[in-house]
C-alpha cells in the first residue's frame, strides 16, 4: 500500500526514475535491454531508452528496428571519444535527452540509459541516474571481479552476462560469481544469458523494487 503525506498530491511520481547500464564494449548491454523490454512491458512499466554511442547511432537504430518498442521511445546521444564523460563528468546531454522523453511521453515511469562501451573504471553520476548496473561478461575472463574496478564495485547491481559461454572459454563460472560477490560484500550480483533471456526476469524485478517501489 502506498500512502502519501497530507497535502501532497497523489497521482504520478515526481518524475520518471532513471537507471543506467554500463560496462565494457560488447558485454551485452544492448542485448540486455532487448530482453528487458518484454519483461518491463509484462510488468506494465511505462518506459523509454537513451543509448550512448561513440559516433554512430547504431544501438539506437538496432532497438528502433527491433519491433519490440515504439521507435519514438528510443533516443540517441552521441558520446564522442570518451563514453564515460557523458555519464559521469558532464551528463547534461543525457539529462536533456531524459527530460525530452518525459515531456513527449507524459506518464513515463522509467528511462534506461545505456552507456557507450567503456572500461572497468566507468561509473554513472547519481545526478543522471538513481540506480545503475554494470554488465561484465564471462568471456571477458574470470579475473575481472578480482581486478576490482570501480564499475564492478560501485554499481547497484553487477550483472555477469553470457553464462552460456563459460564452458567454451574455460571459465569457472561458480568461482567467478563467488569472487564477484566477495568483492561486493552484500550488494547484489546476478548471472544472466541475454541471448536466451535466462535471469533477466530477476533483473526486471530488481529494477521495479529499487526505483519504482513495486513490492
Amino acid at each position: 500500500m502506498l500512502e502519501r503525506p497530507q497535502g501532497q498530491k497523489s497521482g504520478r511520481l515526481a518524475s520518471a526514475a532513471r537507471i543506467g547500464i554500463g560496462g565494457p564494449v560488447g558485454s551485452g548491454k544492448t542485448a540486455l535491454i532487448e530482453r528487458l523490454i518484454p519483461e518491463l512491458q509484462a510488468r506494465d512499466v511505462d518506459f523509454a531508452v537513451v543509448t550512448n554511442d561513440l559516433v554512430t547511432r547504431e544501438d539506437a537504430e538496432r532497438l528502433r528496428r527491433s519491433g519490440l518498442i515504439d521507435p519514438e521511445r528510443v533516443s540517441a546521444v552521441e558520446a564522442g571519444a570518451c563514453p564515460h564523460t557523458v555519464i559521469r563528468e558532464d551528463p547534461t546531454l543525457n539529462m536533456a535527452a531524459g527530460d525530452d522523453l518525459e515531456v513527449r511521453f507524459p506518464g513515463l515511469e522509467l528511462v534506461i540509459f545505456e552507456s557507450g562501451g567503456d572500461n572497468l573504471a566507468s561509473t554513472f553520476s547519481l545526478d543522471l541516474v538513481d540506480w545503475w548496473m554494470f554488465v561484465i561478461d564471462v568471456a571477458g575472463g574470470d579475473d575481472i571481479p578480482r581486478k576490482k574496478g570501480p564499475g564492478v564495485l560501485k554499481c547497484d547491481l553487477l550483472i555477469v552476462n553470457k553464462v552460456d559461454l563459460a564452458p567454451h572459454v574455460g571459465v569457472d563460472l561458480p568461482g567467478m560469481l563467488e569472487e564477484a560477490q566477495r568483492a561486493r560484500g552484500e550488494r547484489p550480483v546476478v548471472a544472466i544469458n541475454a541471448r536466451s533471456g535466462e535471469g533477466v526476469d530477476t533483473v526486471a524485478d530488481m529494477i521495479c523494487r529499487a526505483v519504482l517501489f513495486r513490492p
Partner: protein, 154 residues
Amino acid sequence: MLMIERVLGSRLEPAFHERIHRLEHSGGVDVVTVSTVDMPRRRLRLVSARGEDLAIALPRDQKLFDGAVLLLDEDRAIVVRAEVERWLSFQPRSIAEGVELGYHAGNLHWRIRFAGERLLVALEGPIEGYYARIDALPGVASIPRIVVTGEMAA
C-alpha cells in the same frame, strides 16, 4: 510504505524550527539516517529509526541533505540525518613514512584528505577490510593512526 515526493525544507528554517522543536518535546520527531553513498540519490527506499518504510522520489531539482524535512504534520516530523563520515587518520612520524603511506593510499584507490601533517582515509566500508590491507604493508601498519568522525576530521 510512505511516499516522499519532495523535501519540504531545512529543519533550521524559521518556518520549521519551532514546530519541530515542539514535536521533539512530545517525542514526535522520527529520523532517517542517510549514508554518504546514498545522499546524492533522488530515488531510494529507506527505513526510518521508528521503522517507517520510506519510498523517496524527489524531483530532479531537489536533493537530500542533513536536516532535510521530509514530512511534517500535527503530531509527527521525519527529518534526514547524514550518517557521520568516519576517517582513519594517519600521523606519519617522518617524511619516509609519509611518502610510503601516500604511495600505498594512491595505489589502493582510497579516498583521502590531507589535514596538515595527517593523511585521512575515508572509511567507505567495514574497517576490518582496511586493517587487512594495512596489515599486509609493514611500512604503513607501523604508522600511528586513530579513527575520527566528520567534525574532528575537519
